[in-house]
Amino acid sequence: MSTREFQVIPRVDVDGTAVDGEQLEISMGPQHPSTHGVFRMDLKLDGERVARLKPVFGYLHRNHEKIGESTTYLGSMPYTDRLDYFCSLTNNWAYALAVEKLAGLQAPERAEYIRVITAELTRLQNHASLAGFLLQDMGASGTPLMYAFREREKILDLFESLTGARMMCNYMRFGGCRCDLPAGWILEARGVVERFPRFLDEFQALLDGNEILMSRTQGVGVLPAALAVNAGITGPMLRASGVNYDLRKVDRYGIYDRFSFKVPIGDHGDVYDRYMVRVLEMRESLKILDQALRDIPDGPILDPKAKLRGFRPKPGEAYGRIESPKGELGFYLISDGSPNPYRYRVRPPSFINLTLLEDLCLGHQVADVVVILGSVDIVLGEVDR
């Protein structure tokens, strides 16, 4: 029997071009478990290879920026928790930094230390769970993710005893932090930081050199450095491509100039490098945490000029940015002197890192798309806002 006895009905694509009968269009998501939320990819497949990929997002759009313009400055703080719900404390910090620039506030030294400690703990738990999710996507069902979540649990317990919530912390305030560290918190945090390297050692023993991991990740989804820079990619994804750009070193916001730490740089820009850069970054975060927990001074935690009620910064504009675990997270605010910002704009790292997904996936197999998407590290709360 000949393979072509039936006639292919010519179809027309959305953009007007005729669809080749040999190519298969599939819609992956929005409920696909590998898409880390409600994210859809329109794939055109040539056999098993990706010929075209269109990311479709917006399923989780919550009007974040418009809400920010219609609530007070303080009222937006709990909403920032819900951007990237894995790293609420770094979101808080970026927003607080933008408003502090706008209003001319300065966080006291102790508050700066608390911010660094909480941000680095956030980075630890984000990267640990990312590594777990990435391996989950690759088919290592459960084990690495369970180990990562076990460690994340210990960090979330620290967050709960400090801020009262595990994920929606709402902890930073303009000009400092909401409340001081509870008694014994530093000791607890030191315990977690001391035990974390043992987890990392085990995690690396579990996975480094694993032949399946190597063959699935090395040479897959290569991102050239020039393309990454042109597309505005930031964070571990950019550094995995070999570009030395870390806002903690470039901007030295907060008190990051006081700590000695290295910035891990990748070489090939493939999925393996992206995974490895994050694992190494966790080790550097532990170094920062060691120093910060040792040096943290006593003192006030809030700028005396800070106002909770009736906060109206003078007219002007400000952009505050930090190195969030996923990349450069920025808040752009315009004030017209009223209690609400006139314009409130978020520069979400995972949204901008996602724009290159097609370039990373072209020519790879469908199963690799899942792995590449996992290595970009997206959280849909932040992509869709």
């Binding site: 709990p78 400090l162 919530a165 709402n170 409340c179 050199g209």
Partner: protein
């Protein structure tokens, strides 16, 4: 040069170590058998707001003076307050308004604690009760004044350190007001 499969075997050894370790080490097994076993609640833990009252009578003792600051500051706007026309004396003996209606829709509330921070009268605090499931959204998740009012002793029990600090501050203010009133009479 490693033998093929070396990495996988090394990983499997790690899994085995974790499996055996989970029987002996608390560090490797962090879960508990809820609801039979429960972790102790943390001092800072917060869930939904409640109204504090002093003394025996919940309606008379309510600290809230219906100033509506929390209603205005609440980001998702889940608080509704209607002022009463009658006034009542507060803890320092000053005549204050009281809420005729105080509703919190906890299906809208996002537990951000901003109402607690902006309240100048220490009248609204965060509860840590989390087992709140119900079959009817309006009957069980729209809390009225009666359901929200909880005695100060309850607050002292769930947030001991914070409550001690608040009580200390209120006592100082009360003593000051009494001294002033005493001086005024003379």
């Amino acid at each position: 040069m490693n033998l093929p499969g070396h990495g996988i075997l090394k990983g499997l050894a790690e899994t085995a170590r974790n499996f055996v370790g989970s029987y002996v080490s608390k560090d490797r097994l962090v879960t508990v058998q809820y609801p039979e076993e429960r972790l102790p609640s943390k001092e800072a833990a917060r869930n939904f707001p409640f109204l504090v009252y002093d003394g025996e009578d919940w309606e008379k003792g309510l600290r809230c003076v219906a100033c509506q600051i929390c209603e205005k500051e609440c980001p998702p706007k889940c608080i509704t307050i209607v002022k009463d026309t009658l006034r009542k004396p507060d803890y320092v003996g000053k005549l204050q308004f009281q809420p005729k209606l105080f509703d919190i829709d906890i299906s809208v509330c996002m537990s951000c604690q901003i109402c607690v921070e902006v309240c100048p009268f220490d009248a609204i605090k965060m509860d840590n009760e989390f087992e709140l499931s119900g079959c009817d959204r309006f009957e069980q998740l729209l809390l009225h004044k009666r359901q929200l009012a909880k005695p100060n002793e309850y607050y002292q029990r769930i947030h001991p350190i914070e409550a001690a600090e608040v009580d200390g501050r209120l006592n100082v203010e009360k003593a000051k007001a009494q001294a002033k009133a005493g001086a005024g009479k003379k």
